[in-house]
Subunit: 226 residues, 2 copies
């Protein structure tokens, strides 16, 4: 008798991982590279996208916008003439505090995957749960604003540990803050020593060209398939 053992999917995170893999397979088939963009509320994700998504010459980009409620950020980004799809997480009482793989899966039929090379998924503003749920992304980018203080990598280690790039935003405000950038970088190294980091200002545009270059040089599924 042949015995096959199948490991049973155990919990919500296992189920999420299964669906994230299915999303990833769909994105791969379409040749779309996917960025999961995360931060605390108000760290500047949308403002950075407003800056960075213009001038990505030759790279066709789309945005999947995750919010508890409303389409304020999606409306801002639609003005850039990039295709934007909105997910709201609020069917429950106060709404979900993160995107999960199944929410992203439900949006896939609405995404113009055949027309884009790069999909940016702007997650719900939160430093805890978004880090726990893969959604099928290739890379994770997080934004940490200098107004949030130097201690954040130590207080929200999973978020800083699982990302592939840290954008340190609002550096135009550094002269007006007591923020110790060296202390932040030391804390970041304590939880994720080798993670690339960039100093940026969505307001002045400083550092944005480097962000664009980083996005342009992400491994392309399209070229991998050809």
């Amino acid at each position: 008798m042949h015995l096959k053992k199948v490991r049973i999917v155990q919990d919500a995170l296992d189920a999420n991982a299964t669906i994230a893999q299915a999303n990833r397979a769909d994105f791969d088939r379409a040749g779309v590279t996917v960025v999961n963009l995360m931060s605390a509320p108000g760290a500047g994700k949308t403002s950075l996208l407003e800056r960075a998504l213009t001038g990505l010459d030759g790279l066709a980009v789309g945005v999947l916008e995750g919010d508890v409620q409303g389409s304020f950020d999606a409306d801002r980004l639609a003005r850039l003439h990039v295709p934007v799809t909105q997910i709201n997480t609020d069917p429950g009482f106060g709404g979900e505090c993160h995107l999960d793989a199944n929410m992203v899966r439900s949006a896939i039929p609405s995404l113009p995957l055949d027309e884009i090379d790069l999909l940016i998924i702007e997650n719900v503003g939160n430093l805890v749960c978004p880090a726990e749920f893969r959604v099928g992304e290739d890379v994770r980018v997080m934004v940490s604003s200098v107004t949030e203080g130097e201690d954040k990598p130590l207080k929200y280690p999973l978020m800083f540990r699982t990302c592939d790039l840290v954008l340190i935003n609002k550096i135009d405000l550094l002269p007006h803050l007591d923020y110790d950038l060296d202390a932040f970088l030391l804390n970041l190294d304590l939880v994720h020593a080798d993670v690339p980091r960039m100093l940026v200002s969505a307001r002045t545009g400083e550092g944005i060209e480097a962000c664009r270059d980083w996005l342009k040089h992400l491994p392309s599924h399209a070229s991998a398939l050809t």
Copy 2:
């Protein structure tokens, strides 16, 4: 035959409400007024407490500190010589993104309820889930930093709708931001028209005396019992 119908506790939020009521009863018996302090990460909850908790003459205060991991904020507040109790929400993978009534219940035996008049519960930094979970508080105070942008009441309406006081923090930075305070106040009025609001700066101390007065004039359970 007499028939009694008992409504069954239906879900996690019902269970939470039941435990929150038990917490509230314990706080009431001890004559302790309880504040649930909430905000996004880095909005300045701990810095405001460092400022406000000194000079509360005659009011004995304690702090219950909620964090995913570590005791960075608790250590800062313990320097003020107020009793501080730490809860960490990280037994799971990335940690819980909020305090719930049962977490607070587990801390009650460690709280010096007989020695304090006022308990401040500093929640996990997050604008979504903390608003969904009552923990047995009398009042909810939320901090919104001007660096987070004017749109936050519209994007996180439950948080702004269920609080009893909004502290608009970091106003010392207003000259250096494009933030439109009138637009923020309009958005706040759209979701919670009559909520008291105060302009404060934990950095300069502006507005802190008004916060202290507000705390001092909260209904006292102790005097209600005498």
